[in-house]
Symmetry: C2
Subunit: 128 residues, 2 copies
């Protein structure tokens, strides 16, 4: 049953300790304490992973918090669940949109790269 210090996680995930504490201020993680010192469980570590993944996808911390809270079992009344399902579908729409965007961008990048390479080639043979 492993546990982690804040600096361990900050090194592992390449973020500052300030960042991790900031996520706690915003209510995205809540590690237990040993005295004053924060002790992170594997579950806490997973939350961090999810937050950072969300960040790479351009989600706000608030968005990530909501998504992460979806995975918490607990307090599931029916209305809550229905709300969650709607939220999930919205998220999914955004993500598929992003998939499209990425596809387009990758295509554009390939084209731009090919153009660059072509330009280099003609420059090499063209001694005008």
């Amino acid at each position: 049953m492993r546990e982690y210090s804040i600096s361990q996680l900050s090194k592992e995930f390449q973020v500052t300790t300030r960042t991790i504490r900031h996520y706690e201020e915003r209510g995205l993680v809540a590690p237990r304490r040993r005295g004053q010192t924060r002790i992170y469980s594997p579950a806490d570590r997973t939350r961090l992973k999810l937050i950072l993944r969300g960040k790479r996808l351009g989600l706000s911390l608030e968005d990530s918090r909501e998504i992460i809270d979806m995975y918490e079992p607990g307090k599931s009344n029916i209305d809550q669940l229905k709300k969650l399902i709607t939220a999930i579908q919205v998220q999914r729409l955004q993500l598929t949109q992003q998939l499209d965007d990425i596809g387009s961008l990758l295509k554009d990048l390939n084209q731009a790269e090919a153009d660059c390479i072509d330009a280099l080639k003609s420059n090499r043979t063209d001694h005008s």
Copy 2:
């Protein structure tokens, strides 16, 4: 040979005119003027599209500006081109990373949704 007003584009892309002007302040678009009034060409419109796509992907305006500038032909000296190719490859790495992230998130969302639906079902038959 169509042209657009700022409010037309703001409606089409669902952003405020302030936002579009902001992109201009940051050097991402430069529509011509008729008197004081901005007149957007189809090319300008395309730039806006690219900017907003970048935004959905979590790029900064600065990032988008660089990417967009890649597609400009003109001023291509060899060092410039090589720099661009490198930049493109970096971008591609980030994007494939994002693709991974999205795949993971979609999987998680599917799971969360399934869990919700299950919970609803058991709630319907379980009258405890």
